[in-house]
Symmetry: C2
Subunit: 200 residues, 2 copies
Amino acid sequence: MSAPIEFFFDFSSPYGYLASTRIEVIAAKYDRQVDWKPILLGAVFKVSGAGPLTEVPLKGPYSRHDMARFTRLMQVPFAWPVVFPFSTIAACRAFYFVQETDPAAAVTLAKALYRAGLGEGGDIAAPEAVIVIARTIGLDADKLAAGIQDPRIKQRLKEITDDAISREIFGSPFIIVDGEPFWGADRLDQVDRWLATGGW
Amino acid sequence: MSAPIEFFFDFSSPYGYLASTRIEVIAAKYDRQVDWKPILLGAVFKVSGAGPLTEVPLKGPYSRHDMARFTRLMQVPFAWPVVFPFSTIAACRAFYFVQETDPAAAVTLAKALYRAGLGEGGDIAAPEAVIVIARTIGLDADKLAAGIQDPRIKQRLKEITDDAISREIFGSPFIIVDGEPFWGADRLDQVDRWLATGGW
């Protein structure tokens, strides 16, 4: 069986959110699994020297326009959170805590967090906000509250983000198919083609 | 009749080159003209604070990989020039000089310059190199040599680049359809859709 498709993303990334709505459909066409890997893009930017796209001179206003336009084209619900970009530490830690015991529930949680944050423009930065969302999909609030603070989970998030940096993953979404890197929601058609053909 | 599609590009931009091979086909489907506008991306970067994509930490190696992969997918000939990015001042001035008397020939020249520079990996930075290419498509070498040095042409290029900057055009290719901005060769399908539907 082929290795899973690695799907790196940041919970505060509209392009990552867009990709999250399509990646599994594409993977399923080729009987492939998706390994969801939320990372802290802020930590990546400290190394790359880059910053949030929406805050780059000239490019910032365009990118906001493009993100909203792209979601409309894909008919994906989208709304800007009041604070953007926002902290995703709690969201990431919740994901990895849930993943330890129930990987499928972690993916369901990731989708619920994206939907609440970027689909509906809600504030999902605080642990309390993440826990409210987790409860809506049937997760245990008390366990999750403890899990988000667990040093082992904190370390796990740090390791995955460091691993991403060491592999030169510099943005969101960043998708690796059999060693081949694809950056951006606008490369999903190429990901599809790569899976179909094994390269070109 | 509708206004032309504005096509801003830099002769040293692989993504601009890619777009140059498709933009007219897309425009023709909707009976639209293309206004080719080569600009000096280096002057834009001085204002935006950005730099050549291939020189950005982490993003640089990926972008080189992506550019070559994208051209293979589109089956467009591509080779890296030894010096990259390269000066495009002579190419731009030649374009605007030829455009004054023969707009169609200017577009033919632009395509020949892209093909020689990024299609074949040739050095097209010097005025002499641009003139050699111009001669292959039947243009008068002596007139062009003088035209490239004409202060009026130098001013024209400066004005068009300044106009692009003032309109927040920060990259290549940058395509404006009825006031709607699209950045990147990966937005050509959206340009096509916008022309078909008038927006979404």
